[in-house]
Amino acid sequence: MSRIAGWRQALAGLALAAIILAVPLVWRLSWEVRGDTGTPDTASYLPALEDERPRAPFDGNPINYLLRAQPKFVVIGDSMAGRIDPEVLGRIGGGNVAPILQNATGSAYWYLVLKNYVMASGVDPRWVIVFFRDTNMTDVMFRLDGPYRSKLDEVAHDAEPGLNAVVERRLQGARRSVHRLIDRVYRVERTREWIEPLLSAWPAGVVAGERGQQRLLERVNAAFELEYLRPIEQADLSAANAGEMDFAASVETSVLPLFLDEASDAGFRVCFIRVLRRPVDGAPPDEPEALRRYSQDMREYIESRGGVYLDDRDDPALAGLPYADGDHVAREARAPYTRRLWQKLQALEP
C-alpha cells in the first residue's frame, strides 16, 4: 500500500470512529429536547458526582413541623423506621415524637435530614434515632443516585460541601474521571433516569395493561423478597456486598463521622439502630463472620464518639415479632417493638 493510500485509509478510519462516537450524542439531544419543557439545569450540590441538571427544590416544610412539635424524639430513616409507633413512644416516653421518614432513602439522605432539618430548626430533642440495615450507614452511594436523586434534592441545599467531600473520597480515581467525562459528554445518567423506568414499564403494561402496570411491578419486586430466597442467598443478601463489610475501610468514605460530629456539636444523643432482618423460623437469619465483625467495629466506633448503638439481632424477643413483607415488621408488632426500645433507651439515661 502506498503512503497516500495508507493516509487515506487512516482518515477513513478516523471518520468512522467519529461517526461511532457521534451517534450516542442522540442522548444529549434527547435531553436537550426534554429540557425545553422541564425544569432548567442548575449546578449540582454533588459536583463530585455530576454536573448541572434540573433539580427538585429544597422542601423546608419539615422545619416548621419540627418547630411546632418541639419533639423529645426525632426518628430518621427509610421504611425500616416504620417499626416505631410514634403514638406509643410519645405516650410512654413523655414527649412528642417527630418521625422524618422517607421510603427508599439512604445514609446521605438521613444525614441531610439531621443537618438541614433537625439542626437548622433549632429544636432540642432528647434522642435522635436512626434506623438502618447492615452496612447502609457506611455506604454513602446506597440510594444516592439515579431514581433516588429527586428525594435527596428535597433535603439538600444548593451546596453540600460535607456530603460532596464524602462522595468525592468514595469515588476517587482515574476510572471515575473517565466515567464523569463520558457522562458529561453524553448525559448518560440523566438519560438512564427516564429510559430505565420506560423499559421496565413496557413489559408490565403488555402483561397487566395500563391500569395493572404499577401493581405488577410491585408484585415482581415482592416475588424476590428475602423470605422467598434460598437460605444461602438470604445470607448473601443480608450480608450485602462483601467488599462493604470492612468497617475500617468504609467508615471514612461514609457520612457516619459527619453525623456523629454534627450531632455532638449540637448536643444531641444519637441512637443508631441496626434492624433485625426478617427472622427465619423465629430466629435471626444467618450472617457471615465478616458482617459480625463489621457490626462489632461499628458499635465500638459509635460508642467511642458518644453515640449509642443498638443491634436488634442482640434482642431475642424481637425475633419472635410478626413480620409483614420483607424486613418490615407487621403493624401489630409496632407497639411491642416501641415499648421494647423505650426500655433500652431508659436504661441508657443517666
Binding site: 478510519g13 461517526i19 462516537l21 450516542p24 438519560t191 430466597l229
Partner: protein, 477 residues
Amino acid sequence: MIFHSLDFLAFFLLMTLVYWQLPQRGQNLLIVGASYLFYGYIHPWFVALILITTVTDYSVGRAIERWPERRRLWLGVSLGVNLGLLGFFKYFNFFVDNVHEALAAFGFSVPLPVLAVVLPVGISFYTFQSLSYTIDVYRGRLSARHDIVDFAAFVCFYPQLVAGPIERASHLLTQVERARAWSWPLARGAAFLIVWGFFKKLVIADNAGVVANKVFSLAEPGFTVLWAGVFAFAIQIYADFSAYSDIARGVARWLGFDLMVNFNHPYFATGPVDFWRRWHISLSTWFRDYVYIPLGGSRHGPGRALVSLWITFLVSGFWHGASWNFVLWGAYHGVLVAVARLVARKPSAQPSSDAWAVLEPLQILGMFLLTCIGWLIFRETDINMLWRGLTLSPFETTLADRQVGQYLFLLTFLYSLPLWIHGLWSVYVASSWAPRLRAGAWGGWPTTAQAVLAGLAVAAILVLRSRQSLDFIYFQF
C-alpha cells in the same frame, strides 16, 4: 484482566501501538510478555501454571521428534502434566467431597483435606489448546516446533487465553510464525466486531443475567417464573460467551491474527447435531478430534459410535465444571444427539425438501426448548432443586406466578431482541446475499451503515448496560 475494564482498554491500546512498531520476532516476544501480564494481573501465580504447561508441551514436542519410538511415553507425560494440573485445581475438591459423602453413606466420617485455592481462570481452555499440539505432533500431523517464544505465544495468546476459542496449532501457531501486516479494512471490521461483542455482553447478557440470577435465587419458583428464568439464562449464556469470542476475534485481528468462529447462531439450529455444529464450535470439534475419533468414532459400527458419542458428551459436560449437574448436562446432550442420529438414519424420517422447509421453524423452536431444558440442568447446581424444576407441572401455577413470569420473559426478550434480529438477518437474509458473511457481525452492510450501527450499539451500551456488571460466565470453566 477483563475485557470490559478501563485497565484493559489502556493495556490494549498501548500494546497494539508498540506491537506494530516491532519486527515479527519482537511482536511475538511482546505477545508473550503482554499475555502473561494480562493473565497474571490479579493473581500473578497463575503465570507459573501456564509456564509449566508451555515448557512441558514444548519439550514433549521436541522429545517426540527426537525419540519417536518413545512417543507414547512422551505423550503420556504431556497428558499427565496437563490433565494433572487441571484435575488438581479444578476437580480435587469435587473428588474429595464425593469420597467424603460416599464414606459417610457407609457410616465412616474421615476428615479429608480441602483445597482452599482459587481456580485459575481459563485453565481448561489453554490446557486443551496446548494438548492439541502434543497430540498432533504425536500423530505426525504437525512437526515439533523449535522456537519456544513462538510456541509460548501460541499457548498464551491473550485475546483468547481465558475463554477461547480453543485454537489448534495448525491454525494459530502457523500465524504466530508468519509475518503479519496491518490492514485497515481488517481493523475496521475488527472494531465493529468488538463493539458488537461489548453490546452483547453489557446490554444483553448482563441484563438477562440479572433476571436469571434472581429466578435461580428463589427457593420455590412457580412454573412460569422458573422457565422465564431459564429463558433468561439461555440468552445470558449465549450472549455472554459469544460476546467474549467476538471481542477475542476482534482484538486478535488488530494484532493481525484470524481466530476461528466459535458460534454460528446456535438458537437457529434445527436439531441436536446441528446445534453442536453451531455452539462452542472450537470445543465441540476438539472433542470430536481428540476424544470421539480416538474412541473409535464411527469406524466400529453404529452401536459403538453411539456409545463413543455419549462418552464424549459426558466428558465434555465434566470439562465445564466439577459438579454433577454438568455431567448430567453432557449426558443429556449425548442422548439428544444419539437419538437424533438414530432418527436421521431411518429413511422414513426424511421428508421431502418442501416439507422440510415448512417444518424448519417448528424444528428450531423444538430444538430451542430442548436446549432450554439443558440450560436448566446446566445452571441448577442443587440436584434437589433441579429435580423439582424438571418435574414442575405447568398446572402448578398462580396468577401472580404467571404474570411475574410473563413479565420477566418479555423483559428478557426486549433486551435480547437485537440478538434475534441479528440471527434472522444472518441466517435467512445475509446468507442468500453473501453466504460467507453468515457468521459475521452485520458483515453484509456498507461500511458507513456499519459505523452508524456500531454507534447505536455504543449509545445502547452507555444507557442500557446493566447496573450489575457480571463476570463472563465461561471464566469459571
